[in-house]
Amino acid sequence: MSIIKKLRDYETQRALLIAFFFVIVAVPYIKPIGLPVPITDPTRNFYNAIQDLKPGNIVVIDWNFGAANWGEMGAGSVALLKQLSQLRTTVDYKIVFLATIQDGPYMLTRSVGEAGGWDTLNFGTYGTDWVYLGFMTGGEPMIASMATDFNSIYKTDYQGTPVTQLPLMTKIKDVKDISLIISFHQGGDADKYRKQWAVPYNIPLIMLVQGIQVPTINMYIKAGQVKGMIASIRGAAEYELLLGKPYTALISTDALSTSHLYVIVVMILGNLGYFLYTGKKKGES
């Protein structure tokens, strides 16, 4: 079979397309290009919502994303921990971490590890300034219940300490004591905070969102129900720039650029092949 004939074979084309794709994606990781990343409004609003926290404000963060989404949301989660830690040096605000999907605690461990570990991050004194409640099943009904009685679901923190012994938890009676909600959106019931807390009680909600969920959240941003958003890896890169702490997301956006350009080139090649082939066929008939 001649080379031209082989190239006309779809299996060969597919193998070549995939092989080139791996090269195109790998190059920016080996040698970053450093293309400029313009900062969009949702990312800036996300960043500002945290920066605007006042002393005594309480932030609830649901670490609800899984391992499959690390590539998209991991860098954003690390940047979030860095911003929270950085802000704590000037503002005495409080944090409640929790998880509503099984993967949450593991992903928090991973994010904290990437951010330098619990010892490096500055969240103040455990129990007084920050609390980690761990994972609890129950989804949206659980969140709805916590809205009117915050300590109705979690009776202990992740280590088994009763919440009644944690000064921060005794301060929180209901959702009206919360100043900001931060949640991850990877589908499923991740919208529960908007429905049960943000809209009914007018609590600001900001989100780190998986790429495929961005159009849905855009709608809520337009409606003012979500105040800010880190949209996938692109948003994370913008966030890293705002923080002044470049990390993996900025390198990944170079790969995003090369891979997206490659898809466009592939689309053009596909059309060229299609029109040349159909043109030739018409000429033959």
Binding site: T109, T137, M267
Partner: protein
């Protein structure tokens, strides 16, 4: 039997859901407190459902393994080898204990990420075949894809500032309008499903067959 299996679940469903709707709209503390208590019961039931799922998983795969079903039993054995020790270990020492955490971070996590990553080459090969300018619809689809790709990739604005502008317009106006109409449709569908269930016309969610 019919009352216990059919009517009683419907009565409980109707009473609980109507009460919760009432508690949502009427801001009266005793009413909302009881509503919160009902939701707590729901949370406990969800925890039981998770346990039930785990027990079912064990039973199903143990049965397949026991019967040595052709082409299946070794996969079930694989599930059991992973599932049983990790569950017992988690119950004994907590899910965040080093061994469970190590398995999650170093075995499950890379596998899960790889599964997700496998999609990317498929998108490339699909874009070679799917975006062919055969008719007006495919031209619109391809053009939309082109601008949205260049919106999400920072290189788009480097090539021409108009690319992200057009992409953003598509994203914020065209796409959002579509998502809004879809969401409203789903919401109306949910309300009608609720009414159908409440009136006994839709029984699948109560666990006995399809339409009543």
């Amino acid at each position: 039997m019919s009352f216990v299996r059919k009517d009683l679940p419907l009565i409980i469903f109707g009473a609980v859901s109507l009460y919760l709707i009432g508690a949502w709209f009427i801001d009266y503390k005793p009413l909302t407190d009881l509503g919160s208590r009902i939701l707590q019961i729901g949370t406990i039931a969800a925890a039981f459902a998770l346990t039930l799922g785990a027990v079912n998983l064990f039973r199903r795969h143990f049965r397949i393994f026991q019967k040595r079903n052709k082409g299946e039993w070794y996969w079930s054995a694989y599930v059991l080898i992973l599932f049983v020790p990790l569950t017992l270990w988690g119950i004994a020492f907590g899910s965040q204990e080093t061994v469970n955490n190590w398995v999650y971070q170093n075995v499950y996590s890379p596998l899960d990420s790889a599964m997700w990553g496998i999609l990317a080459p498929y998108i490339v090969t699909a874009s070679f075949r799917a975006f062919r300018l055969k008719n007006v619809e495919s031209v619109i689809l391809t053009a939309t894809c082109f601008f949205v790709l260049l919106l999400n990739a920072p290189v788009g604005s480097t090539i021409w500032a108009g690319f992200p502008f057009i992409g953003n317009w598509i994203n914020v106006y065209v796409q959002t309008a579509g998502v809004i109409s879809f969401t409203i449709g789903v919401a109306i569908g949910t309300i009608s499903l609720f009414i159908r269930t409440l009136t006994g016309r839709e029984t699948a969610s109560l666990g006995y067959g399809g339409q009543g």
